[in-house]
């Protein structure tokens, strides 16, 4: 066994180092949060905190329920309608919901459903009636969460539908199943094992949702813990209250992560498939499926169209010449690039270490392997338990204790948060791919006595190229659109594009905001859709 450990030493150490780094960071964060709670109020659980917790759980529960329901119906429709024009573009767009900066989604939704949005304007024109500002409050939060998460759920579930063996459909058809029986006996059993994992991921995302609640919450009655932490730090400067809320949030998210039993994030690569299911639908079912797809496509695309149309109308000369825009733009791009590179490196090292503990011909049989695998997985998924605003609060408290220029703390905080935010998704893409490569080529590579570098150049890289491109793009977009940490550290000296956009929206400079939103949307979609395609062209394939 000792020789086994020494054989895989080179792939154990780098990942172990990253794990220790992550563990140290988590410990430091907990330490700073706990030593800062010197106010007696921290331990008091007043009614305001209780109502915040209740509403946070309530909105997350409703958002998850609606998102999963819509996701299932949409994925079912897309799976059975695989041949209409523009399908692959539509599926690619739905996949991009995961990386769309939440603030520009909110901006687009306001453009459609807001007081002066398209729906109210159309209603005023046709019936001389306005629905008012119904978007602010629980409705707006739910609409935005369903917008982002139903499309994410549908993309993951579509992959499951497409993975159902064709024989199962043929068998069901030859047994004369109805559409409902087909769903009950063939499709539901395939979906069910993944649903809990998808639902818990969505619940966590909605539980820690920040930008959506900040802008659409409207009043304190619709505040969540995350927004209350922000307001306590930034507006009231009530650090004791912020700490109390952060500790409650941390306790709940940790429980959720532990109870969701595994840390999978259900992310599939962007590759869209039009696998043909051997079952031609009855005409009325086909019509229902196409209606569902069209309605959701309209719901999904219309806010993006608003951003494009309003953005085109903006005075770009003025927008891009503003000093704060230039500062924000370059800060965003530099931080996103650096954090994406680091995310890719960390994810590769962690996946390389993790596969030692799960492969039979490596160290799977060792009694510590299971435990080590869980520890590495948990550390890679730290973000799911420690939301970025709490990380931000930790860094904020550190910056209060240890003096350094704000820009230094801000940069470190942003980089750390962005890496931790992207790691769970990066690992869910890279880890299975690296596991597969090792499974197939370990024996060959060991028999040829290839060095670590040769292994990487001749075997790993050619197979992982497209996944690496995808992870880089994903991480870049996450970083580019995040409004979590920057909300605590943002100032005129240190700003990113989302923070700058939020400032513009807050000061009612709608036209300039539309221009910035369009620039953010263009960068995000170009990077997310085009970058992985550049890598995919020459990718080697597993047979």
């Amino acid at each position: 066994m000792l020789t086994q450990w020494s054989r895989f030493r080179s792939s154990l150490f780098p990942g172990a180092l990253v794990s220790i780094l992550l563990l140290s960071f988590a410990s430091l964060l907990f330490f700073i949060l706990f030593i800062s709670q010197d106010d007696a109020r921290v331990t008091q659980f007043d009614p305001r905190v209780w109502s915040l917790l209740k509403f946070t759980l309530y909105q997350a529960f409703l958002s998850t329920l609606l998102s999963v329901l819509v996701g299932i119906i949409l994925a079912w429709s897309l799976a059975h309608q695989s041949h209409f024009k523009g399908r692959s573009l539509l599926v690619a767009l739905f996949s991009s919901s995961l990386v769309l900066p939440t603030l520009i989604v909110v901006f687009g939704l306001i453009g459609i459903y807001g007081r002066n949005g398209w729906i109210n304007q159309l209603s005023l024109y046709l019936f001389d009636y306005s629905f008012g500002s119904y978007l602010y409050g629980l409705v707006g939060i739910l609409v935005a969460h369903v917008y982002l998460n139903a499309s994410f759920a549908s993309r993951s579930l579509l992959h499951i539908f497409e993975s159902i063996p064709k024989e199962k459909y043929k068998l069901a058809k030859s047994l004369n199943f109805t559409t409902f029986q087909r769903f009950l006996y063939v499709e539901w059993p395939a979906l069910r094992p993944t649903l809990l994992s998808i639902a818990s991921t969505i619940f966590l995302l909605c539980f820690t949702s920040f930008a959506i609640v900040l802008v659409l919450g409207g009043s304190p009655a619709y505040n969540t813990l995350e927004v209350a932490i922000y307001e306590a730090v930034k507006l009231d400067f009530d650090i004791a209250m912020a700490l109390k809320l952060a500790l409650i949030q941390l306790a709940v998210t940790t429980l959720l992560v532990v109870f969701s039993s595994n840390f999978r994030t259900n992310l599939t690569n962007l590759k869209t498939s039009s696998t043909h299911i051997p079952w031609s639908e009855a005409k009325h079912i086909k019509q229902i499926q196409m209606a569902i797809i069209s309605l959701f496509a309209l719901f999904f695309i219309s806010p993006l169209v608003v951003i494009i149309i309003d953005g085109i109308g903006a005075d770009f000369g003025k927008v891009v010449s503003e000093t704060l825009f230039i500062k924000s733009f370059f800060t965003s791009i530099i931080i996103a690039t650096v954090s994406s590179i680091l995310t890719v490196i960390f994810a590769v090292l962690l996946s390389d270490t993790k596969r030692n503990f799960t492969l039979k011909n490596r160290l799977e049989d060792n009694k510590f392997s299971k435990l080590l695998n869980i520890i590495v997985s948990f550390l890679g998924n730290l973000y799911l338990a420690i939301p970025s605003l709490i990380m931000g609060l930790g860094f904020f408290l550190l910056s209060q204790r240890y003096e350094a220029p704000l820009v230094v703390w801000s940069t470190i905080a942003l980089l750390t948060a962005n890496i931790l935010m992207s790691l769970p998704f990066a690992l869910s893409v890279l880890s299975p791919a690296m596991q597969k490569t090792a499974q197939r080529y370990d024996k060959l590579i060991f028999s040829l006595n290839l060095s670590k570098l040769q292994r990487w150049v001749y075997c790993e890289y050619p197979y992982l190229k497209s996944s690496l491109g995808y992870v880089f793009a994903l991480s870049f977009c996450f970083s580019l659109g995040d409004l979590g940490i920057i909300a605590l550290f943002g100032s005129d000296d240190f700003s990113t594009l989302p923070w700058y956009l939020y400032q513009l929206m807050g000061s009612y400079r709608t036209s300039d905001a539309a221009g910035v939103a369009l620039i953010l949307l263009a960068i995000t979609l170009s990077v997310f859709i085009l970058l992985p395609r550049l890598f995919r062209g020459t990718d080697a394939k597993h047979n």
């Binding site: 063996p165 024989e167 199962k168 043929k170 068998l171 058809k173 030859s174 047994l175 004369n176 199943f177 109805t178 029986q181 006996y185 063939v186 059993p189 051997p278």
Partner: protein, 213 residues
């Protein structure tokens, strides 16, 4: 008698035309041999109705099946895998062949019991399909064939991957079922020993055309 006459099929974006003509008598097992990708399974998909032929006809006695939908064709098909719903019990998997709402009536349940005895699985009625071995799963699938009593049985390499002993048992069971129930059985295989053991006649797909050996 099952008659397949000048049946043709063209895959989209491919130049090859697959041509099939054959006949199968009641109680007869006809084997189809051929290399991977030669078009053996395409023939089964055409007979079952999963693919639409570009021309030709499929007739069972006086009935023309060519334009019938899958569910209206009197066929049971067995694949190499995925013949069962793993989350259901053996009994429910068999009942699904005739009773989609799975409402247990005494008559059907008794019938399932008798059939399970016939295929040697009488103790497994309430076992989940997922906990059966590969050979046992295929026996359950054959039990469903008996429950359905459809006159055409299509076998798409269903015993590939089973150990030799189980494989021989399964082949003998197919032969018995075919004879006792007057079935028209078509078996796609690439194993010449399977053909020798149970097939009455053998066809081979060569250059996309079915030729009797």
């Amino acid at each position: 008698m099952l008659n397949i006459t000048d049946l043709k099929y063209e895959y989209k974006n491919a130049d090859e035309v697959y041509k099939y003509s054959m006949s199968v008598k009641p109680k007869e097992i006809v084997a189809i041999l051929g290399q991977s990708g030669s078009g053996k399974s395409t023939l089964l998909d055409l007979i079952a109705g999963f693919l639409d032929a570009s021309s030709g006809s499929i007739q069972l006695d006086e009935n023309d099946l060519t334009n019938e939908t899958v569910e209206k064709r009197p066929i049971t098909i067995l694949f190499q895998s995925h013949n069962l719903f793993e989350h259901l019990t053996v009994q429910k998997n068999i009942l699904l062949g005739v009773n989609k709402v799975l409402k247990e009536n005494i008559e059907d349940v008794n019938k399932v019991q008798a059939i399970l005895k016939e295929v040697g699985l009488e103790k497994y009625e309430h076992t989940l399909a997922s906990s059966l071995s590969g050979g046992q799963q295929q026996r359950v699938a054959l039990a469903r064939v008996l429950m359905r009593r459809e006159p055409i049985l299509l076998l798409d390499e269903p015993f590939t991957g089973l150990d030799v002993e189980t494989r021989v048992q399964m082949l003998d069971l197919v032969k018995k079922i075919t004879i006792e129930n007057n079935l028209h059985t078509i078996m796609v295989t690439h194993d010449i020993q399977d053909c020798e053991r149970i097939a009455n006649r053998v066809y081979r797909v060569q250059n996309h055309t079915l030729i009797e050996q």
